[in-house]
Amino acid sequence: MLIAGLALWAGQAFAQPSKPPYSVDGLYNLANSYARSGKPGLAVLSYERAALLAPDDPDINANLAYVRASAHVSVKPRNRFVRLAEAASPTSAAWLGVLGIALVGIGLVARWVAPRFLWIPGGGILLGVALIALTASNAMLLWPRMREAVVLIDQTPARVSPASMGDTAFVLREAESVTMTAEHEEFILIRTDGGLSGWVARSNLGAVVPQVAGER
């Protein structure tokens, strides 16, 4: 069953050759070019995507902060727990979680097999639980970012209704990060860090994690 699962994962991973590949360095360099071209929105979007793949990359974080500061867009500081939990890349955290499950399971089974050496499986169980907790923390912190988007056009109006002629509730700055909460045709309901909600045209936003076509 394990082999079957691995085969299924490998098949899914390689079954979409038409989708553009994302790489940390490629996204980082692309973001730099946007920043030099005076397009902070697209630059922040690319930096955010690169940070998803390599959250602890100092160059990405430094340039992201720099571009945001230049665009006068504030961002909430990360606390120590967040920094610790995001220290591992999501891919590493995923495999560490699998390792943790394996350690816990093997440790539980080993208790019966070698009851004289309980400290070994006990230690393995503790380590496994820690790894699972790290993975879970990483996932919990990254989950909201799956619904994040970056404003691509300066002074984008956020309207009270999903209509191009709807009244403007407030205006968003370019490179500002928002959370997508709902969508209706060509409009997306967003929420800012300050708690404001409004409808924004889809074309004015860039989702940090592009949605798979079948999931829309």
Partner: protein, 590 residues
């Protein structure tokens, strides 16, 4: 001479049999309450044999008698004869009573309801009524519903074009008292024309037509044809009128009833819903000419002028501004359309919306405004091209083009692009790439190598979740399979004991062998039989184990011998005793 001016009405009336050349009638009082009666007096200056009672819907006539007397005129007494007729009305209204003799004019009787001013107020106390000028009905208009109503559609006489909007007038004339209600707005016959919405509050006036007072309701509207051809236009409207349903004999019977209530009950007057129509009006509709028709002609017909403006005048890049197109003039504004700009370089366009403000009551003249939001993609001086509007002018009978002038607008740079440009040291506008690194930005990374097709972390992808799930299931199954059980624990202990016994047998240590064997068997029997080990006697062994009990007892005895007398069994004995012990420990010996 008291003379009453009456209004001629085409009501039914019988010709008088009198051969008198001069006669007149008076009604006293001329205004009564419903339930009261008035007296009609026919005065004749000759011999008046008899007069036939008239027939007026809503009135009951009753001969009261005839007399002879003198009538004074200009101080001269003239012999005259009189016929008195009682008039009792069935409902309120203004009634015109025809002359009962060839020479007498019609008279009028007004009947009011009880809550109106005192009906016995003398006529001298009432304000003098201005004489109403009586005119003829418009040409082609015929009275309907027994002369109680007419409908007139005033359509243009000239030929019109498809889509051309022309003002029309619909007049509905009603005789009060006979027509009780208008049950709907006038409608056009035929689906080849459109009529703009008619007001529920038409213009109202009173006018006399052919001697009768009519309340005339007038609707002003606009008419437009949807396809060419020759048409006969007419309008119709539903009304309710009071019509007498009794025969002549029944009316005569009703007239002799003395009680007004009974007269009302036996009047036979009932409201009836009917539809009256106007006479046909011929109208020719011409097709729009194809010659000279512009490619982007949208179908507007009329005479228009255009103007455009923007609001606000200056904006920043990314801010919306509104482009407005004003179309003023006369014509069919329903066919005035403009898509504005579908696409504009360096601008982001949105769908336009429109609004119409009429200058008159029917919407034939007015202004239509189209508003389109635009967002500039880049800063600097931008030029919005002029808008073109084509229409057909039925007055000049040709297509005309109206165009607005281009509009210059200054787009200021946004703050974000300005900051990054300042940092980069260049003054290039937004969107233009600049060379060299931006101060403060860290340099690019080397050529990228590894790539992924999905930015979502592995643990958010369903296919990957199969791996830890499968692993967890495997491990859980293994744990359940490896979980220690009582039987397994017992067999392990047994194996250990047997291993020790085997070791003792190989070593020839009979005392240890038999001691271990006795101890193990006693523990096993004690646990199995739920009794203390020291209470297991030979009798107990024999009772529970049968013949095997004797062997077990012999083994216990040999244990003592081995301990105290150094008994040394042979290998065969050791094996035999091992088989016995193994059998008892596994429970096969019972």
């Amino acid at each position: 001479m008291i003379t009453i001016l009456g209004v001629l009405a085409p009501a039914e009336h019988a010709m008088a049999q009198a051969n008198d050349a001069l006669a007149y009638e008076t009604v006293e009082p001329s205004r009564i309450k419903l339930g009261e009666s008035a007296t009609l007096r026919v005065t004749s200056f000759g011999h008046l044999k008899d007069v036939a009672l008239p027939s007026v819907p809503g009135l009951v006539f009753e001969k009261m008698g005839r007399s002879q007397g003198l009538e004074f005129a200009n101080g001269t007494a003239i012999p005259a004869s009189f016929v008195l007729i009682r008039i009792t009305p069935q409902f309120a209204g203004v009634f015109s009573i025809p002359g009962l003799t060839p020479t007498s004019p019609a008279t009028e009787l007004e009947v009011v309801n009880g809550d109106e001013p005192n009906a016995y107020t003398g006529r001298s106390q009432r304000p003098a009524q201005l004489p109403v000028a009586s005119t003829s009905l418009p040409k082609g208009v015929q009275l309907q519903a027994g002369g109680a109503a007419f409908l007139h559609l005033a359509a243009p006489a000239r030929a019109i074009y498809v889509g051309e909007s022309v003002p029309v007038e619909i007049e509905l004339g009603l005789r009060p008292g006979i027509v009780t209600s208008v049950n709907g707005l006038p409608t056009l016959n035929g689906s080849d024309f459109t009529l703009s919405n008619l007001s529920k509050q038409p213009a109202r006036r009173e006018q006399a037509f052919e001697g009768s007072i009519f309340v005339v309701l007038t609707w002003h509207s606009t008419l437009a044809a949807v396809k060419p051809g020759d048409y006969s236009l007419s309008a119709e409207t539903p009304i309710a009128v009071k019509i007498g349903a009794l025969s002549e004999a029944d009316r005569a019977f009703a007239s002799i009833l003395t009680r007004p209530f009974l007269q009302i009950m036996y009047s036979g007057i009932a409201p009836k819903d009917i539809t009256i129509g106007s006479s046909l009006s011929e109208l020719k509709v011409l097709p729009l000419p194809t010659e000279g028709q512009p490619r982007n002609f949208s179908g507007a017909v009329g005479d228009f002028q255009v103007l455009s403006d923007i609001f606000p005048a200056t904006v920043m890049a990314g801010d919306p501004l509104t482009l407005r197109l004003h179309i003023r003039g006369v014509g069919n504004f329903d066919r005035v359309d403009s898509t504005m700009f579908d696409h504009l370089d360096h601008w982001k366009t949105y769908p336009a919306k429109s609004s119409f403000t009429p200058s008159d009551a029917v919407g034939y003249r007015g202004e239509k405004v189209f508003e389109q939001p635009l967002i500039a993609a880049r800063a600097g001086e931008q030029l919005i091209p002029g808008l073109e509007f084509n229409y057909f002018n039925p007055g000049t009978r040709r297509y005309e083009r109206a165009q607005t002038a281009p509009i210059k607008v200054m787009i200021a740079a946004s703050l974000a692009s300005g900051s990054l440009n300042a940092l980069s040291g260049g003054q290039s506008p937004i969107g233009a790439p600049t060379t060299g690194s931006t101060e403060g930005l860290r340099p690019d990374h080397p050529r990228p190598q590894n790539s992924v097709s999905d930015l979502r972390p592995l643990y958010f992808r369903v296919p990957f979740l199969g791996i830890p799930t499968t692993l967890a299931l495997i491990l859980a199954g293994s744990w359940f399979a490896m979980r220690p059980s009582a039987a397994r624990a017992t067999s392990k202990a047994t194996e250990r004991v047997l291993a020790r016994l085997d070791a003792a047998a190989r070593a020839g240590d009979s005392s240890s062998f038999f001691e271990i064997a006795r101890k193990t068997l006693l523990q096993t029997f004690a646990a199995r039989w739920q009794m203390p080990a020291d209470q297991i006697t030979f009798a107990e062994l024999k009772a529970r184990l049968g013949i095997m009990g004797e062997d077990v007892d012999r083994l216990f005895a040999l244990a003592d011998e081995a301990m105290y007398s150094d008994y040394q069994p042979g290998d065969t004995d050791f094996q035999r005793w091992l088989r016995l012990i193994r059998g008892q420990l596994s429970g096969d010996g019972e």
